[in-house]
């Protein structure tokens, strides 16, 4: 192998080599960390909400005057929505998963202060599970007898005797979703804690705020409460192919029912998720752009330095060719040289990547960088180096041997 002469040459043109290696090292350090963050953002954006996302939509009206007969309004709305062809289930809800606006409460196992788990709360007088298309994995859904009525004008407290937990909350409290059934948990703590019995567990149900921290986003429960508030808020499930039409019909039907309210939300689940994760998406896109920019810049740097060397060494290449070196020997020379430099850069880059990660962990509470990202980054940078050097190496190989005889 010709490593010895390559090393000798490199010692004579250190600057270029160091520049390329430094660039490779920085690039590796940054792209490993950037892609790691991108992966986390995408995982947040892509996580299932638990809701049948192709089927469900939200429709909400706010009162534009004083609405006295809230129960009547709710029942008329529900009947109108059910009458639309293609509608499979309807529920009046207090808030909507992932919609950024909702209710939160604390849940404890024993009602003692100090151990409250922050939890997203949903309630409906109908079957929330059915209207959202949730998957019940233990126990049963609510029955008509479970439902309580709460009017915010006359009732100071919102409470119910039975509850359905999300899978994550059930596991957090009882270790296993089956074990949760029939057990008692408390909403709140201390002397105001209210007891409730777990009758069911759903697989997944994200909270309305759906924060990036998965543990907070996944802890939710459902109450069988018909809440009579000033706004009219419904979840509707329809055939995926008919949803768009049903949404239009629903707006027409409800707007025709009464003039004293204003439509404030009409979104399908896809739109709701899109709006909630806009920030995460923008951040991920920005990091992807930085990564692509880095790879391009580094590639151009390698091409630049390699081209410089080729033009500086035309004469030597000619001499080698005249002495019997084949074209592929020349190509191999430049490729090997590049590989050596890139490898040195990669070695430094791994140290830098870990250093940068530690810095980000301490400053921004980022997670530790997993090894596969380092390996992936290494492979990417090696491939990039090879791809960039092929062009200049090929030009070097096409230097004619006759060059050796031309100039002094």
């Amino acid at each position: 192998m010709e490593i010895q002469p390559i090393l000798l040459t490199l010692r004579r043109s250190k600057t270029g080599a160091i520049l390329v290696a430094a660039q490779v090292a920085l690039t590796l350090a940054i792209i490993c960390n950037a892609l790691f963050v991108v992966k986390a953002r995408i995982a947040t954006i892509d996580r299932p909400s638990g809701v049948a996302e192709d089927e469900v939509f939200q429709i909400q009206y706010a009162a534009a005057g004083v609405i006295e007969d809230r129960k009547g309004m709710q029942q008329a709305d529900l009947a109108a929505l059910r009458a639309i062809p293609g509608v499979e289930a309807v529920a009046a809800v207090n808030s909507f998963p992932v919609s950024s606006s909702g209710w939160g409460m604390g849940v404890t196992l024993d009602g003692k202060p100090g151990s409250e788990i922050p939890t997203g709360v949903y309630f409906s007088g109908e079957s929330f599970v059915n209207a959202m298309g949730l998957k019940l994995i233990a126990g049963r859904d609510f029955q008509a007898g479970d439902v309580r009525e709460v009017d915010d004008r006359t009732d100071a407290r919102v409470q119910a005797d039975v509850v359905i937990l999300s899978g994550r909350l059930a596991r957090k409290l009882f270790g296993d979703e089956q074990k949760a059934i029939g057990k008692t948990v408390y909403q709140g703590s201390g002397k105001e804690a209210q007891q409730m019995r777990v009758i069911g567990v759903v697989d997944t149900l994200l909270s309305s705020s759906a924060p990036a921290i998965d543990d907070y986003a996944q802890s939710t429960f459902i109450w069988p409460i018909r809440y009579l508030g000033a706004t009219a808020h419904y979840a509707v499930r329809a055939e995926p192919s008919q949803r768009a039409r049903v949404m239009k019909d629903a707006e027409k039907a409800l707007s025709a029912l009464r003039p004293d309210r204003v439509l404030i939300n009409l979104h399908d689940m896809g739109e709701i998720k899109y709006r909630r994760y806009r920030h995460e998406r923008a951040g991920a896109n920005m990091l992807i752009a930085v990564t692509i920019g880095l790879l391009l810049v580094t590639a151009s740097g390698i091409v630049g330095v390699a081209s410089l060397w080729v033009s500086q060494r035309r004469k030597q290449i000619g001499v080698r060719r005249a002495l019997g070196a084949r074209r592929r020997d020349i190509v191999r020379y430049f490729v090997t040289e590049n590989l050596l430099i890139t490898t040195a850069g990669v070695a430094a880059g791994i140290a830098l990547a870990i250093g940068l990660n530690l810095f980000l962990v301490s400053k921004l509470e980022l997670a530790k960088l997993p090894i596969p990202y380092l390996v992936g980054g290494m492979v990417a940078v090696w491939a990039l180096g090879l791809a960039s050097v092929i062009g200049p190496a090929w030009r070097a190989a096409s230097v004619p041997p006759a060059i050796a005889t031309r100039t002094a």
Binding site: R278, G301, L308
Partner: protein, 441 residues
């Protein structure tokens, strides 16, 4: 001589155009990435009201129950209705105002505009002077309006235009929820403090949305307008508590943001003492069971404690500057290539008597020229990427705005970066041996 070098530098831009183009593009991309993220970061961490941010304070009182549930050492971030009223009526403080976000239905007198929900806040008359809110027409309502809960309203310029078109809005009425309100003034659209520190902890995110209308605090309360935003209750209502709005007013729930302007920053300790005294008074009445834990934040302290600058933004800024560093290293390599190609020319100049210093000057000037061109291109790219960011979300629409300061910083960063990148290649150019170069020609 410098002018001559500048001319030479400009002329040499055209020499080896591919290499020069590559340098300029690399520099421009690095500058644009770092400057657009820095612009956002700077806007996020900026002082929304620089003239008096050290004199405006928001008090937090710890009214949580003593049942061990209050693990957070920070007191609640808003006040109860009762405490807000008490602090407003107390003597200390130059100007004081409660802030509550509201969303009343606006029914315009114009028939071509349908009723809609407005975004607004209910405040005291002091608010406008405290926050230096500029009026284009009319002015704030009076303290008498405050006291009597009169049906008056201040509109934002764009909202006034939407409601009344070209007509003079002051003195006109519009229908809000359940009553008719008279417009007393119109606030300039230019009033856009970033972030919206006065309603930071409740309602829309701190960089999004503007207030379309302002109504007196007492009017909003008298008409039972619902607070739009968080209502946090650490204590569940007593069994005999009244339901509805009256219950909310009497409860220990926090939902009012409160701001006080002091005559000078040095009055803060006295106001703190006053707060402690107030809490001690209330404790005698059976409230505030926890040890006194009052906080008084000035604007900057309030922004810091609420961690306004998102971690994502910081991360992006760090990574973008890492990117700029890579671009710089790349530029060093490319400049080295560019200068090495001219060894012959340098040899001739040296042989004709040019000292190393002259060569150094000439090539550093040339790097600077490349930096200027790269900086100008980078500035263009920065504007483009900020424009792109503004399209991404409402928050970026507020944040991704270039100002003169950032413009200057961008150009300086580009030129300094290219000079830094130029030092090594220039130094190498000075090392050229005249004899060797002349011989090899």
């Amino acid at each position: 001589m410098l002018a001559y070098y500048l001319a030479l530098g400009l002329r040499h831009l055209r020499q080896s155009p591919i290499l020069t183009g590559l340098i300029v593009v690399t520099l421009a991309v690095g500058v644009a990435a770092s400057m657009s993220t820095l612009t956002v970061l700077r806007a996020m961490s900026g002082d929304p009201i620089p003239e008096k941010s050290d004199r405006l304070f928001t008090p937090n009182l710890d009214n949580r129950p003593d049942d061990g549930s209050s693990r957070d050492p920070r007191p609640p971030e808003m006040l109860t209705y009762r405490d807000a009223v008490a602090l407003k009526n107390a003597k200390p403080g130059l100007r004081k105002s409660s802030v509550m976000r509201i969303s009343p239905v606006i029914a315009p007198s114009r028939t071509d505009v349908k009723p809609f929900f407005g975004d607004g806040i209910s405040v005291h008359a002091d608010f406008f002077k405290m926050m230096d809110v500029p009026f284009v027409q009319g002015g704030p309502w009076s303290e008498a309006d405050d006291a009597r809960g009169n049906h008056v309203v201040v509109l934002r310029e764009s909202m006034a235009e939407k409601l009344f078109g070209d007509a003079e809005p002051v003195g006109k009425t519009l229908h809000l929820d359940t009553y008719d309100a008279t417009v007393t003034g119109v606030v300039s659209d230019a009033w856009e403090p970033v972030p919206r520190f006065y309603r930071l902890v409740s309602g829309p995110p701190p960089f999004r949305g503007v207030e379309d209308l302002f109504i007196p605090w007492s009017t909003a309360i008298a008409n039972e307008m619902q607070p739009q935003g968080n209502v946090n209750c650490f204590t569940d209502p007593a069994p005999d508590a009244p339901p509805g709005y009256e219950g909310l007013k009497q409860s220990e729930c926090i939902w009012v943001q409160f701001w006080v302007e002091l005559a000078s920053a040095s009055d803060a300790p006295a106001y703190r003492d006053f707060l402690d005294g107030y809490v001690a008074e209330q404790r005698k009445l059976g409230r505030f069971p926890l040890p006194t834990n009052n906080k008084l934040f000035d604007v900057q302290g309030w922004l810091d404690v609420n961690k306004i600058v998102s971690k994502d933004t910081r991360l992006q800024t760090y990574l973008a500057f890492g990117f700029l560093l890579v671009c710089l290293v790349n530029c060093i390599g490319l400049l080295l290539a560019k200068f090495t190609a001219r060894s012959g020319e340098i040899g001739v100049r040296r042989a004709l008597g040019a000292p190393r210093r002259a060569i150094f000057k000439q090539y550093l000037v040339e790097s600077g020229v490349v930096g200027l061109v790269g900086g100008a291109a980078g500035l263009g790219l920065t504007f483009a990427s900020l424009w792109f960011l503004r399209k991404q979300s409402d928050e970026f629409a507020v944040l991704a705005k270039m100002d003169w300061m950032m413009l200057a910083i961008t150009l300086v960063v580009a030129v300094v970066a290219s000079l830094l990148a130029g030092i090594l290649p220039t130094w190498r150019a000075c090392q050229v041996q005249p004899a060797l170069q002349l011989k090899s020609q």
